[in-house]
Symmetry: C2
């Protein structure tokens, strides 16, 4: 077998060189062999044989001037849900042979953010997965051409795009109802930073359905440390007996603040979070929360994206896969922070 | 300005087409204009002018058949230190215009891991950053050609490569000495999973220098939940008064186990961790630890790598940047888990 540059598998260029045809001719051949002359077809077939070239989907994508990688766009990649989602994406993408390239969307928003989007699209990714866990990234969608394979995870529904819905509204509704059922007059909500927070909406609706007035939600940032002051303040108000935090890290900050105010969890105040952060089960006491299955969402996004990529590679029109809407439901996990006795066996499951 | 495909900036192909030269000729021109005929030089210069083409380092790299992205290799990307390091890499890489592609090294090791390495190298990255926080990835280095720009973060020293050293030995030595100075007979160590653990070595040497016999280190996994049982067991031994954990998440699990055994932190047992995890300051009580500056390590790795990439792009031999060895030192952060009174102001710094 002829040696190819850097000892790697033969590329479309190597085959073109051996067949003595141009790379665009090779591209036409890979798209549809009938589009090149019989003489060239024969030469290319011989070169493919000789180099043991396998025209895999990636090579075909390259022939279409599509990059070989899946681009993942996300705001701050250090946050728990994103890390987990990204891990699911990586694992599945690796399995099907696509590397993943990350584009961190600039949290300053606006033009800064669109700069990252342009930088991504300029490189013609095979497809894009947008992790849309805050409305910051909402405007990004309109800048991604409808001909680019795209799967959005989370965020508000974009009817003409493929999307995975995380059912946060339903989960927050279920959690709030659960906390009320434990015998509390109301549930206070500490909100994640988002213009439109489905968790807050679910909490509000559960209170409304139970004919309980909703206390003003308390806004915070993604920084768990900021929630310490909130917990301390809530701890000084004896009417506060149940707190639902928009995510687990915020719940942990709130619990620390409650401790500083001299309140015990769950004896004086019960606390629940959202996400099932790895450390939720390690917290003292372990945190009741909603398990979000982020890694599963990531894996599924790659599967959905692959169908769209296949459409492009095979020159098929935008099919069903381009507007698919799948749901991944959360799961209420009861632990000691809400005062429910959980057996060690159940906790270990 | 002529429209180019997908409305993006003009590519080397666009310029070649307008100048009526081949892409290889364009490549030669970008590497060294004197290598093409005067006629072609003039045509290319006119095309560059017409298309407002800027031959940036990335275009030059492409001309060299080098991919335009920085490959990051790491084992499990969900772990705290890696997330933070990766964030620093992303931020800096984005700043200098290189996208980052992630290759997750298969934790099953051996051939599985080398599969990821080959998959990465097959795509000719502009350069590689290897996050080597466990010895699992040690063998990877020998599979990366010495002509590929490479920066290793952490891990044992590879003399012929550029590397960033995290000074874990020194930090663990300082922490152990600090804990002994608080008046404890000895310090128990709960070890991170690594064949060669500089943190353990530093702990052992500090005990040895203080003429204190070292208790057997307790092995655990990266899973913080596993450390709960360890904490519970240590809590049942009244001779255990000071525990140093190989990372913060393990320390958190140990603290939960101590609570289950009826021990109070810091009153009965003091606990220290390593890394300064975001949640360390939120923990109840906040955790004394070593701040590792992972994001800074990531940013610096990109800066070091860029110098090597520039050498390749400019056809210079492997220079100093290829074997550079820089250190990033850790910082002891005192918090309440070791019983030291820290003012709220100091904690907020």
């Amino acid at each position: 077998m002829p040696r190819t540059k850097r000892g790697t598998a033969p590329s479309i260029r190597d085959v073109a060189a051996v067949a003595n045809v141009s790379v665009p001719t090779m591209s036409r051949y890979l798209k549809d062999p009938s589009r090149v002359s019989e003489k060239k077809r024969t030469a290319i077939a011989a070169a493919i044989e000789k180099l043991n070239y396998r025209p895999n989907p990636i090579a075909r994508a390259l022939a279409l001037d599509m990059s070989e990688s899946i681009a993942v766009m996300s705001a701050d990649t250090r946050l728990y849900g994103r890390t987990q989602t990204f891990y699911g994406i990586e694992r599945k993408a690796q399995e099907i042979g696509y590397p993943t390239t990350i584009y961190v969307l600039d949290s300053r928003g606006g033009d800064w953010m669109l700069g990252s989007v342009r930088s991504c699209l300029d490189r013609s990714p095979a497809g894009v997965i947008l992790i849309d866990y805050d409305r910051l990234t909402d405007s990004v969608v309109s800048h991604i051409p409808s001909t680019t394979p795209l799967v959005i995870i989370g965020g508000p529904r974009h009817e003409d795009r493929a999307q995975i819905h995380l059912c946060e509204y339903d989960s927050a509704y279920a959690m709030t109802k659960h906390l009320l059922a434990l015998g509390h007059a109301t549930v206070h909500y500490v909100a994640v930073p988002s213009d439109v927070d489905a968790r807050e909406d679910g909490w509000r609706m559960a209170l409304s359905d139970a004919h309980v007035p909703a206390p003003a939600p308390i806004a915070t940032t993604w920084d768990a440390e900021k929630a310490i002051a909130i917990g301390r303040q809530l701890g000084e108000d004896d009417s506060v007996t149940a707190i639902f935090a928009g995510n687990d890290e915020i719940a942990m900050g709130v619990m620390r603040g409650l401790a500083l105010a001299g309140k015990r969890v769950p004896d004086d105040v019960i606390v629940a979070g959202f996400d099932d952060h790895t450390l939720s089960r390690v917290w003292n006491p372990p945190l009741t929360t909603i398990r979000q299955h982020f890694d599963e969402a990531g894996e599924h996004a790659v599967t959905m994206l692959k169908q769209q990529i296949d459409d492009v590679v095979n020159n098929r029109p935008r099919g069903e896969a381009w507007t698919m809407f799948d749901k991944i439901t959360g799961e209420l996990v009861q632990r000691e922070s809400t005062g429910e006795r959980v057996s060690a066996a159940a906790e270990e499951r």
